[in-house]
Symmetry: C2
Subunit: 321 residues, 2 copies
Amino acid sequence: MAVYTDFSDEEFDAFIRGYDLGAVLSVKGIAEGVENSNYLLATEKGRFILTLYEKRVDPADLPFFLGLMEHLSGRGINCPLPVHDREGRALSRLANRPAAIVTFLDGVSVRRPRTEHCGAVGRALAQLHEAAEGFALTRRNALSVAGWRPLFELCAARADEVAIGLSAEIARELDYLEANWPADLPTGVIHADLFPDNVFFLSHRLSGLIDFYFACNDMLAYDLGICLNAWCFEPDGSLNLTKSRALLLGYNDSRPLSRDEISVLPLLARGSSLRFLLTRLYDWLTVPDGALVVPKDPVEYYRKLRFHRSVSDVSGYGFDL
Amino acid sequence: MAVYTDFSDEEFDAFIRGYDLGAVLSVKGIAEGVENSNYLLATEKGRFILTLYEKRVDPADLPFFLGLMEHLSGRGINCPLPVHDREGRALSRLANRPAAIVTFLDGVSVRRPRTEHCGAVGRALAQLHEAAEGFALTRRNALSVAGWRPLFELCAARADEVAIGLSAEIARELDYLEANWPADLPTGVIHADLFPDNVFFLSHRLSGLIDFYFACNDMLAYDLGICLNAWCFEPDGSLNLTKSRALLLGYNDSRPLSRDEISVLPLLARGSSLRFLLTRLYDWLTVPDGALVVPKDPVEYYRKLRFHRSVSDVSGYGFDL
């Protein structure tokens, strides 16, 4: 649930005149994307998403995000394509915020993924990784291993409000992951947030990927660890082996995993659990009263972290070579 | 800002199979309508609005609202048309709530209406009143004069938290309006909530009316009082005489006002101010912590009430016969 920023008729008219999109037929705030204000825009030229970037997005990153969508779109990935204004720019301003218009993608996200969805996401993630090759810009992953300790320090003192012993356990986990985090795996552009709400399906076929606002450069297999966590656990907290197997086989079909990538996957999935545990913990402890966004439960990722710690190799995900 | 209710994939699939709308292309929660959960639905057959009716809407009123839209649509008013399911019903259920699908209307609501918008709304309101003639169902206006005192009693004790002396002033106003409220004016179906967000324009022409969930039977001229308040005041609280004159002339062009209607218009506008003052006051004092909806300022309608009390006849609205 988002839509934070509203704008005046005059601001919007001046903004939209900067584009060659014909007359505006409708503009509706949509409850999508936690970080930004999003509007569904219909004009004589088609349907679009208008995004106003709010304070959690660094404007300096916008050329990376918008350029990446353009690069991927040009290489066959069905993702939103930024619309250029009359001066050729993908980035404009509205209501005193950076703003962009991208094409609208048909498709429906699934709330409870089934096995076939997991397989399709694995394949799409591998295709995304390959299509992103050659993209000229880079963006450091601020939410990888080096970013976790500073985040933890912001909420260490209050972590036990969420679960007794959580603070000490995160501290031990951080020590371990910092000492053992792999370095020599294949890297590239990763999506870094490919949760079910960011994947569209039409008639059970994967039809598009959205929300590239966490994309960055990192180990490709780490992205797979994120998807394992996001797609393959059941509501009761248990891993669904059939789903994780489908995800990994789907990925491996399109981009074969190296022996090294396979062997550290449990560690990467464990790190990905800590990353989402920490950001959710931070949001949980700092959510302002009366906020429009209900923070997500950190405990879900605490459980996933513990699960991955118990996995000795990828057979624990149903994947065998 | 709304969208309160979410639903599972299975619930939605079962629901949509009840309609002959082809494959679903997208479903997005939209930030529109304070009372209900609204989704923009695109299918192979076109674009629609899916509404889940939340607890503030009495299910017994839904046949009136949906039937009215169908009646008006059939008589040339551009308003949402309920889509019937395969069994011929306009009303279905989703996520354990009454739910309906209506056609999507193109158009953009204006945030700061100009004079030409006010004239167009006056004409559209008169056309709506005439088109509604012959509609078989009726619905009492629970928010007319008889409903104001019970509402006041719920917030009288705390009204002075909003403005010192407000409680006593509302009490005096209620006494006066109850004693002087007119009875013998022409009645019919009124929209009762025709604020700028419920009126769409395309290229400066009025293109449609939405949100009939306050519609009821009452004095037609009372609806005009509501529109005077909703469309003709400037942000600084002053009436814009050019706008109110355009609204009244626009209405009178399509449905000439009787002498009696004209003479009591200041009283009806005053009553309409009290109605919105009371509902806003109630919402203001009862909004739960962490609510998704920011309540609207009651003081705006307190000022409008005082203004109308100072108006002796319709020349105070720029309207002369």
